[in-house]
Symmetry: C2
Subunit: 278 residues, 2 copies
Amino acid sequence: MDKVILDGKQVADKVKGSLASRVEALKEAGVTPCLATILVGDDPSSETYVRMKGNACKRIGIESKRIHLSKETSTEELLEVIDELNQNDGVHGILLQHPVPAQIDERAAFERIAIEKDVDGVTSLGFGQTAFGFGKYPSCTPAAIMRIIDEYKIELEGKHAVVIGRSPILGKPVSALLLNRDATVTICHSRTQNLPGIVKQADIVVAAVGKPNFVQGDWIKEGAVILDAGYNKGNIGDVDYEACYEPAGAITPVPGGVGPVTISMLLKHTVDAAELTL
Amino acid sequence: MDKVILDGKQVADKVKGSLASRVEALKEAGVTPCLATILVGDDPSSETYVRMKGNACKRIGIESKRIHLSKETSTEELLEVIDELNQNDGVHGILLQHPVPAQIDERAAFERIAIEKDVDGVTSLGFGQTAFGFGKYPSCTPAAIMRIIDEYKIELEGKHAVVIGRSPILGKPVSALLLNRDATVTICHSRTQNLPGIVKQADIVVAAVGKPNFVQGDWIKEGAVILDAGYNKGNIGDVDYEACYEPAGAITPVPGGVGPVTISMLLKHTVDAAELTL
């Protein structure tokens, strides 16, 4: 089989393309899909991410409602803002940009988002529903990984998937989604012993560890599918692309792999949520 | 190291022993801890399980409120019963005996149980909270497995745990609990390829597959810890005990292993829930 470079930009364009007519139909029905983004503080990367998401919304006709709170915001104040957005019928999705300043109880804030508007897939309820197979909005990066797998018709049933990382928005939900699609799933993390030996068994490798160029070429089984969910400073992934390209059967580049699809899944979830209010 | 037979009865007695003074203190404060059990239909094994649980409650001073519904009960009728129990301040825990008759939407019924009273750990919210590390009442069999591991001071950090089975009340939550304790976790199931080879790598094996004597002796690595969560007809576990005893470093018998601890965790969760109402 030829080596496949998994082109996230192409997948993202396809997803976004499929949303245009749905957004139009919603507007004809009197509903403008709207994503509210909450940014707390002045972290420059967070500002960039929120702006990118807002612009992506606008380009396909989704309204972007941007809320920017000062870095001194308290947990209570943030919860009040979330409550208002939960009650606002004009808002279909709520995204709280991570990370928030240290004085805020981030988990409490995530948990406060109404399940119907949790298009970013951050609540424990949303995660539980996803793990049990009936979640509407899985966390966006895991959803993007599954979308790439589906677009490229990568077989999962009975395959051994090794996920490196166990965060609530990445390692845990992507493991759950792969398991529900009949992969055998191993979840690895910072305490894992003999990580190279475990990765070497994988038919599918998902890197979600947040360390630049962490996954090495000699860890990869010949023909394995590699999905790199990392985005480290300087647009560097968690996978040493040059070294892993050789043994891989298919691989996502960084940039242009999982990243663009992640944003398109956020848009899709927002449109899904708006349609459910009709 | 000597081979250890993990004595569930002893662990269960210790757990129950620690509850006696807590139940007494609750009663002095005017609160009698109460577990409501709902049985739908006439399945003889289910009747036995519910009776066992009720009797276990009574023996340590927990009130057991048994609700027995006819096998023609509709989903709506069952949901109404659950709503009443949710609102009843005298009830601290609710257990819906599985399985329910086919006409009932079992998942909808489980999901209806208020999180504060989900002492059996069946809701997707409870699972999500457990997976994210702040769940109060994990599903009872997984909680029992963790209790046995702790009582016998079995190290988990960095160890490779292989869980066979992926049910919402067993395989999935026990995987989450092991992961949160820093084990590397592999989840296997009916579609897994080369199951013996994967189990052979395990430092910890959890069998939760529901097939009598399924796990074979030559699958087990020398010194592995084996936890058998199976209870098949005739009190037979999922592990071929005779064959696995030889290579195992530690092993739960069936009966007398995970089973008795499971019931004691249900009692503990009910007392926990009652204390939280003080």
